[in-house]
């Protein structure tokens, strides 16, 4: 690694964020300040475009100008670490929460949009139908593990939880009733079927596992049933 080159490159990245030219830069007829501005204008456009691709409904709520300003502020606070911009933006809801007077519903929307984005990029999987036979009642539920489809997430919202999953190629979401949310939270935390079910029923007597299972197979939420060692 060349220390001089590293220093030079870090200085240019810092200049892009701050707008203050780095030493050693030169430009043709337009000058260093104009050249730097061209890169900064591009970075601002890239920031807004990248976040709008994920947070379209949030952009619609805020308006293009306010959204773009927020995207640039977020870029400067938490710049991308990957060369794939689809990986950037996970922390937007937390960033927004640090700003004054951001309504809770916008934070909910941001968290939901990121989960939807991740679900659409998650790995492809088919339900393992053969493994579902382990739910025939002959296996010890304390040792059965229900594996959810890639990308399925339970997202905390101000008034409860929303489930996000991929239906065909599109990610969808739905507010879950408290009993289903409690059960899904247990499964997603790695609990076996038996303990997850017991914990849910202890707080929600009316929880209907059979109805949940039918839905879990239809959507699909459930990918496979495994046996824990």
């Amino acid at each position: 690694m060349s220390g001089a080159e590293l220093q030079r490159q870090a200085a240019l990245l810092q200049a892009l964020l701050s707008g203050e030219p780095a030493p050693g830069l030169c430009a043709a007829s337009q000058g260093v300040a104009r050249g730097l501005q061209a890169y900064r204008v591009n970075a601002q456009a890239v920031a807004a475009r990248a976040l709008a691709a994920v947070y379209g409904p949030l952009q619609a709520e805020l308006g293009e100008a306010q959204f773009a300003a927020m995207a640039w502020a977020f870029w400067r606070r938490l710049p991308p670490e990957r060369g794939d911009l689809a990986c950037w933006g996970a922390g937007l809801a937390d960033f927004m929460a640090q700003q004054p007077q951001v309504p809770a519903e916008l934070l909910d929307l941001a968290r939901l949009q990121w989960a939807l984005h991740e679900a659409e990029r998650a790995g492809d999987a088919e339900p393992d139908l053969a493994s579902l036979q382990r739910l025939d009642g002959r296996h010890d539920a304390a040792r059965l593990r229900l594996h959810m489809m890639p990308g399925l997430r339970l997202v905390a919202q101000a008034d409860g939880h929303a489930l996000v999953w991929r239906h065909a190629w599109r990610a969808v979401s739905e507010a879950l009733p408290p009993d289903q949310a409690a059960f899904m939270a247990g499964l997603l935390a790695g609990q076996a079927l038996g303990p997850a079910l017991e914990a849910t029923l202890a707080r929600h007597e009316a929880f209907d596992f059979s109805a949940w299972l039918q839905r879990a197979l239809r959507e699909p939420w459930l990918q496979a049933v495994g046996v824990m060692e």
Binding site: R8, L13, G35, V46, E81, G83, A86, E120, G123
Partner: protein
């Protein structure tokens, strides 16, 4: 791929139409990073196109010139995509984007930032290109930049064409010659278009024809005080002239029409591709 192959950059607004119409094209080029997801619809769309056309994977994020080195995650995602797509070409840019801020974790500017044309810079870019080629088990092509900033040259530094030729010699990579980038740089440093054409033509004559694996053509925008490489319009007449000079110097080279902003009807891209084909065969 045939040396006289003509392709277009395939972007989301044309995904469905191109698959439905299946126009005669020799290859499609996509931005590799748009297909880095683990799964999902985009990869299915690309698989469909791969069944019909050779694919060129053009990266914008490898950051081959970064002094901090390559992002292993990025390289692994690219390797996975290369394995899946079996592309005709793989390319990226002679630029950097990753560097640590205040000595911390490297951040990625997601832009094509200029490297200095120093021996140290060349050495590290050679190492990075070789690491990519070893992982992918194939040679890649590296594209010359349009740059609005540069680094003050010092004694011993190389001119850009020499830097790139030396990169090709030492690493075994090829050159992706972006003719529009040359013209943008020349227009930003010369007082008029005629002088810019002379400067850019000299640049082309300084490269070794056998090193060129692909040519890119695109539009640019003149803002008055600066010319921007925005890929948002038809290829400018001066760029077509420069393209003919490049073909005269290199012979037929696979050529791509890029269009990334204000994307027009597919027929406009196909018309530009037809023009490139006609000019290559003159």
């Amino acid at each position: 791929m045939r040396r006289d192959a003509i392709g277009i950059g395939w972007r989301q607004p044309h995904y469905a139409e191109l698959m439905a119409r299946r126009p005669v094209l020799d290859f499609l080029e996509v931005h590799a990073e748009n297909f880095f997801a683990e799964g999902g619809a985009a990869l299915q769309v690309l698989a469909g196109a791969r069944a019909l056309y050779p694919i060129s994977l053009h990266g914008v994020g490898l950051s081959l010139g970064s002094a901090v080195g390559l992002d292993v995650w990025h390289l692994e995602r690219l390797a996975s995509l290369v394995e899946r797509v079996e592309p005709a070409l793989v390319s990226d840019h002679a630029s950097f984007a990753r560097a640590p801020l205040a000595g911390g974790t490297p951040v990625h500017a997601n832009d094509l930032l200029p490297v200095a044309f120093t021996e140290a810079s060349l050495t590290l870019m050679v190492a990075n290109v070789q690491a990519v080629q070893e992982r992918l088990k194939r040679a890649i092509a590296v594209e010359n930049l349009s740059a609005y900033l540069g680094w003050q040259a010092e004694p011993g530094d190389l001119a850009e064409p020499q830097f790139l030729m030396e990169l090709c010699r030492r690493s075994g990579c090829k050159l992706l010659l972006d003719v529009n980038n040359l013209m943008v740089n020349a227009l930003n440093s010369e007082s008029d278009e005629r002088a810019a054409l002379v400067q850019a033509g000299r640049w082309i004559r300084d490269i070794e024809p056998q090193r060129v694996a692909e040519i890119h053509l695109a539009g640019h925008k003149d803002l008055g005080d600066i010319v921007i490489d925005d890929h948002g319009s038809r290829v400018a007449p001066a760029v077509w002239q420069l393209y003919e000079q490049a073909i005269a110097h290199c012979g037929p080279v696979p050529t791509l029409i890029e269009w990334d902003t204000d994307i027009p009807a597919l027929d406009v891209l196909l018309d530009e591709a037809a023009q490139a084909s006609a000019r290559m065969r003159r």
